[in-house]
Amino acid sequence: MGKRVAIVGTGQTFHKSHRPDVNGQELINEAVQRALIDANLTMKDIDAIVIGNMDHFEGINYVDCWSVDGSGGVMKPVIKITTGGTTGASVAIGGYHMVGSGMFEKVLIIGWEKNSESDTTGAITTAFDPIWDRQVFAGAISGLAVEAQAYMARFGASERDGARVSVRDRKHALNNPHAQLRKEVSIEDVLASPMLADPIHLLDVCPRTDGACAVIMASEDSAGKIAPKPDWIWGTAARHSYAYVSDADYGRLTSMERCAKEIFKKAGIREPRKELDVIELYQPYSFAGLIWIEDMGIVGHGEAPRYVWDGNTDMGGELPINPSGGVISCNPIGATGLIRCAEAALQVMGKADARQVPDVNFAVSTGFGGCWWTDMILHGKMKPN
């Protein structure tokens, strides 16, 4: 009844704000070639391709069909999964089910985006209902600002608490050659940077990036032969509810809470704070690094600022978050969730180089997007039962 699935290889581009030297499918090709090399496989070994991005960022319809030259998909099964910002995580989850079902042995998963090719805010605004929401919605940042305001009002947090998260992630990015932004910032830098939407400053949020990521999954039948230390997928979950902006419970990420409960229960994880070793959190802005780890069950409501200020989520801390530098350091939207997955995989596989957290047994990667949606994946060193 279903096979166990592991990640056996990953590849990423060196993400940049603009990649004028390549078009979208050429960008995809770079990540794919790297993943194949990482897994020591050729395109002939790949049985199916799952690919995702957000259409309106590149303006290419049937993009799974368009990109076959770069993805290696010619005369292969190619399918597109797209769920907004969570796309990168959704394609990983897609690959997991495609392999787990027994239909395909080795699946190549691709997430990518060339944000430099479009007006990101203009495109994101089309996500919202044209009758009720679109005319008042001013892009992703406005929604996030409402959440931050609500959290600050409910739990007494401050702008400085948000800034401390930015400082952490921007410092972590120095260890990650793939990250777009690799320069440290200080609390003062963040607070002095231009205010975008109260209380979110420029340095509290993610950049726009051109980048691609590719992950190869295989079933238990071949995973061990391909990778010496595969990254086993212990569980996946997604909650994509709320169709209207006003439906959400601002200050609480309900979808994260539900995903975490489901995954941890299934895996038998009772104290995530103790049992998880690293988290790659899809954190599009700093405050999310406080609010959403509470909803994940790492610490109680309102306790995250203290937890973060005490250094627990820094490298060397009790539970490092975003050793890669996270989304604030790099955000090719359709790839971002997959990059979190790939980074978590690198941690479990022991291939994370300068950003390696020692002795990783369990890792979590998440995706965020849409109308307060969460996708979550639990990665483990051991094969699941």
Binding site: I81, A127, A238
Partner: protein, 381 residues
């Protein structure tokens, strides 16, 4: 490998303009119908896969519009962008991977809300091709010309597909365009893009369809006799028209073979009782039949003329009226699957094909059939 079956289907009527309904309204209708059909409540659904297109809906994250209406508020959910047969494929893998037992799959589109020419023009490569201004219709005209040149098939023969399918639609209560027309009517209808006349082309319609896929361990728990998924496969060809032979469809040849192999079918012409395929244009019914091995290449037109693909023929094709009688993009493949399910259950009413035991449903993605998905369904396990 474990098996899965389809245990519920729900279709809205296919209409030119559902001006009273939003995407969510359509989704609710289709899902509600599917649950009733299956004798299930929403609590029996373990996870949901929606199928939608950001381009056709004019919304990035188009799945947002239908998630809640599909009962997915606190369920695991994902979204496939492509034809409904692809969404259903993913839904199938999710019923077999061990995480879930039942998957609800939906697909929707409202052609009435968009300018299809601009939407399909956006499928062309923005760097080398898009500014030339082709769209799905002019592209398929190019394929029709290639096919006709290679096989010698005449426009009058292609027109017969339209005559057959529009006539079939009279017996299908949800079809949009039941019409009694002649070959002459097709040939004198407006020439849209040589050789395609207006009546050679499907409309762009509104519709939503939902199906429920269940793992074998729960497939017999509910109201319906399960219709078993014997084989399924999909495959994508090269993107640029100039990289492939438009008069053929290698991707379909390969994927049909894979589906037959998985289903254990050695002689598709004799073992398959009924076909619902993606007839967006008349010539496609002929070309797809041939590339699926159900007719010799270039010979489907002769079989059509002899009545072989009629409702009472040896291999009924598109007894529902097909897409020519109503084409809700994206949902199209799910309607094909649902039609086959109804036929195999013996519930197709006036357009029932006698003794239908094994059926083939087919969907297409991309320009000129770049990508194909084939499903083999059966009454028996």
């Amino acid at each position: 490998m474990d098996r899965a079956a389809i245990i519920g289907i729900g279709m809205t009527k296919i209409e030119a303009n559902k001006h009273r309904e939003t995407f969510a309204d359509m989704a609710w209708e289709a899902v509600d119908k599917a649950l009733n059909d299956a004798g299930m409540s929403i609590g029996d659904i373990d996870n949901v896969v929606t199928t939608s297109s950001d381009f056709w809906d004019g919304r990035t994250i188009s799945c947002m519009a239908v998630g809640d209406a599909s009962g997915a508020a606190d369920k695991n959910i994902s979204c496939v962008e492509g034809d409904g047969t692809y969404g259903a494929f993913y839904g199938y893998t999710r019923a077999l991977s061990g995480s879930y037992k039942t998957t609800l799959v939906t697909g929707h589109s409202k052609g009435s809300q968009c300018i299809s020419s601009l939407i399909t023009n956006a499928a062309f490569d923005p760097i080398y091709e898009r500014s030339l201004g082709m769209d799905m219709v002019t592209a398929c005209a190019m394929q029709a010309n290639a096919y006709m040149h290679r096989t010698g098939v005449k426009p009058e023969q292609m027109a017969l597909v339209s005559v057959k399918n529009h006539a079939n639609a009279f017996k299908n209560p949800i079809a949009q365009l039941p019409m009694h027309i002649t070959v002459g009517d097709v040939m004198t209808s407006e020439m849209i893009a040589d050789p395609l006349h207006k009546l050679d082309c499907s409309p762009v319609s509104d519709g939503c369809c939902a199906i429920i896929i269940a793992h074998e361990s729960v497939a017999t728990k509910f109201r319906q006799e399960p219709i078993w998924i014997r084989g399924l496969s999909f495959c994508t060809d090269s993107f640029f028209f100039g990289d492939r032979d438009l008069a053929r469809s290698n991707a379909l040849v390969q994927t049909a073979k894979a589906a037959y192999k998985m289903a254990g079918i050695k002689d598709p012409k004799n073992e398959i009782d009924i076909v619902e395929l993606y007839d967006a244009f008349t010539y496609q019914e002929l070309l797809w039949l041939e590339e699926m091995g159900l007719a010799e290449y270039g010979k489907a037109a002769k079989l059509l003329e002899a009545g072989e693909f009629n409702l009472d023929g040896s291999l009924p094709v598109n007894a529902s009226g097909g897409l020519l009688a109503g084409h809700p993009v994206v949902a199209a493949g799910l309607y094909r699957i649902s039609e086959i399910v109804m036929q195999l259950r013996g519930e197709a009413g006036e357009h029932q094909v006698k003794n239908a035991k094994t059926g083939l449903a087919h969907g297409v993605n991309g320009l000129c059939g770049q990508s194909h998905c084939v499903w083999i369904l059966d009454k028996e396990r």
